[in-house]
């Protein structure tokens, strides 16, 4: 992986959930990194551990039942987040790493105006930089002499909201889904994080709005200089926004590659299977190839490579040994015995 130059480095991240049915290995040794000013897309089926990954990085995994196992590390700007106290972690949340969610309908508090919620985020940031907690409405002036009000309007303009004065005074229920998601992005960016975790932020939106939001996020990344960890199950979305892609399967990253390389020459049998099952606009019409079977239970996953029961190329070693991510050169990493140490 990109080594020392990365903003976020996740190493051997293992998270389990204790449930009545047994121990669920939600993340089973995840390795990935996000560089500065980079969009890393994370794709996978439902239950592959994508959302658990996002929440774990924020340290928002409900515990119990969730638990991050020993030996995991999440290095953010050189600091291991898993070693921070809750109070120190709180200071990373928002201003260091921020998160936007799937449901724009419920991710804004219905009792406050959009403007109030964004201002809360701005005040929190100022308070942090002054090493104090926000109190009431006293923090109206910024260090550079601007007002919170100005910055609010600036934040709304940044996310291309028309008529920001009016929208700032609106309640969430008065806005459309796309507008709410913009407001949400404005709120999270107002804290000026260096990493934004976006957990399927466009899934609940229609295709046109989705395209607008994706373009917006892409542009904002350039303007604000933040990196994005973009979680989705949609390869189309990944193609629009990501620089590099991590493919997840049953709690593991099975392949990481630049977005172009991944689409044009996928290496891992799972990625190849996924690519083949995407319908194309051109070419022959016929039955779409599918991956046989379904993702294994995370309570009792198959031994060795978790993909081997569905893999067309599986051989003896796959049933015994779990493959590690191997550097294939050219920024590509694959966890598959087919490519191991040749």
């Amino acid at each position: 992986m990109s080594g020392d130059k990365s903003l976020l480095q996740v190493k051997n991240l293992r998270v389990i959930f204790n449930t009545d049915a047994g121990v669920v290995r939600a993340l089973d040794g995840v390795d990935l990194s996000v560089g500065y000013k980079e969009v890393l897309g994370v794709v996978g089926e439902s239950g592959a551990g994508k959302s658990a990954l996002g929440l774990t990085i924020m340290r928002l995994i409900p515990s119990p039942p969730g638990r991050i196992l020993e030996g995991s590390s999440i290095i953010f700007r050189g600091v291991d987040l898993l070693k921070l106290s809750e109070e120190e972690m709180n200071r990373v949340r928002g201003t260091g790493i921020s998160m936007i969610f799937q449901e724009p309908m419920t991710s804004l508090n219905p009792v406050y105006t959009v403007g109030d919620q964004i201002k809360e985020s701005i005040r929190l940031r100022i308070a942090r930089s002054r090493r104090e907690r926000p109190r009431g409405g006293r923090l109206e002036r910024l260090d550079d002499g601007g007002s919170v009000e100005d910055e609010l309007l600036e934040a709304l303009r940044l996310v291309r909201i028309p008529d920001p004065e009016k929208i700032a005074k609106s309640y969430p229920h008065e806005l459309s889904g796309g507008m709410r998601q913009r407001a949400m992005i404005a709120m999270m960016l107002a804290a000026k994080p260096s990493l934004l975790i976006a957990d399927e932020p466009t899934t609940a939106l229609d295709v046109t709005t989705q395209a607008q939001i994706l373009k917006l996020l892409r542009d904002l990344m350039e303007e604000v200089g933040a990196s994005i960890l973009f979680i989705t199950h949609d390869f189309g979305v990944i193609g629009e926004i990501a620089d590099r892609v991590a493919v997840m399967y049953a709690g593991n990253v099975v392949e990481i590659a630049g977005v172009h390389d991944l689409f044009h020459k996928p290496s891992h049998p799972y990625t190849i299977g996924l690519m083949e099952s995407i319908p194309h606009l051109t070419g022959e019409r016929g039955e779409l190839p599918t991956l046989p079977g379904s993702m294994p239970s995370l309570i009792s996953p198959p031994p060795g490579c978790k993909f081997h029961p569905r893999c067309p190329h599986a051989f003896e070693k796959c049933r015994r040994e779990t493959p590690r991510l191997v550097d294939m050169g050219g920024e590509r990493w694959v966890a598959c015995h087919l490519f191991g140490r040749r």
């Binding site: 928002g94 998160m99 969610f101 991710s107 929190l124 229920h173 008065e174 709120m187």
Partner: protein
């Protein structure tokens, strides 16, 4: 109809939007309420009760036809007439004036008890529901202990131990009253905390206690407020019972329960002494119950269809 337009106006206020309430929904509820004669009557009774209490509290007893505390033996035990609308008691005090003056006492006791219960129970319940785990377990077991005693008996025991006074009645009722609010608030907090804005607030780095105050409490306030408003009737009833037993208001204070107690020996001869204050209690409590029933029907979509059709 004028009243209907008034309801409409109330429904138009942006305040409701601010509380996250669907304005259309509120308007529909108000329309159903105003169409139901019983809940309309209930709301009128409640409005009159509070308007009177506020008027007397501000203007003093001087606006009444007679001083409710002036003893006038010459006019003792007069039956209801135009001169004394509801008659006079054994000390010649005008019963109508005393009943009207009594609204202040009951309004005060009920609002204070409900407000404090809502503050204490609401906060504890919100914390309990939001944090869950051990905190929840402790708070809920404590409320269980309080709810295990029959409310009135426990209040009676506390009030008796503290000694007779209106303040002690309030304290006793508060002890009995808050657990219900804690329960209600906890149940609401459990639903509120599943919302993504709570997760978003955590992701912004707000501390848990800040989330409780800024995001959870404002969202559980509306249902709590509705319950509290309707709950005032039962506080009045219980406060009157304690005063009737002699633990609350002390003579010569004009309080309805106390007036029933003082007048009950005259029931067979001068019935107006105990009956009118009793009717005042009944009508007021009935008013709250009627509005409560109407509101329940209006809020229940299944019953709503019947009302509409």
């Amino acid at each position: 109809m004028n009243r209907v337009t008034l309801w409409r106006r109330i429904g138009d206020l942006d305040l409701l939007g601010a509380l996250g309430i669907d304005v259309k929904e509120v308007r529909l509820i108000l329309r159903i309420l105003s169409r139901n004669p019983l809940s309309l009557a209930g709301s009128i009774i409640i409005l009159v009760f509070f308007a009177t209490a506020i008027l007397i509290a501000i203007a003093g007893v001087g606006v009444l036809p007679y001083d409710p505390y002036a003893v006038n033996i010459a006019e003792a035990l007069q039956s209801p007439s135009l001169r004394h609308l509801l008659g006079t008691d054994n000390l010649g005090r005008d019963i109508f004036s005393r009943i009207v003056a009594g609204t202040v006492v009951d309004a005060q006791v009920s609002v204070v008890v409900v407000a404090f219960s809502m503050a204490v129970g609401g906060l504890l319940g919100a914390i309990s529901g939001f944090y869950g785990g051990k905190v929840d377990e402790i708070v809920m077991r404590v409320t269980d202990i309080f709810l295990a005693f029959p409310g009135l008996i426990l209040a009676l025991a506390i009030a008796a131990a503290l000694g007779p006074s209106l303040l002690h009645v309030m304290e006793a009722l508060l002890v009995v009253w808050w657990p219900t609010y804690a329960r209600l608030s906890r149940a609401e907090a459990l639903t509120v905390k599943e919302n993504q804005y709570i997760e978003a607030a955590k992701a912004s780095g707000l501390r848990d206690i800040e989330i409780v105050f800024r995001h959870v409490l404002p969202n559980i306030l509306p249902p709590l407020m509705i319950y509290a408003t309707l709950d005032i009737g039962s506080v009045i009833l219980n406060a009157s019972v304690l005063s009737y037993i002699g633990l609350g208001a002390q003579p010569p204070q004009a309080e309805w329960g106390r007036m029933v107690f003082d007048g009950q020996s005259y029931l067979m001869t001068q019935w107006w002494l105990p009956i009118f204050p009793g009717v005042a209690i009944m009508v007021t409590v009935l008013g709250f119950n009627l509005l409560g029933d109407g509101l329940r029907d209006a809020l229940d979509p299944r019953l709503r269809r019947i009302v509409r059709g």
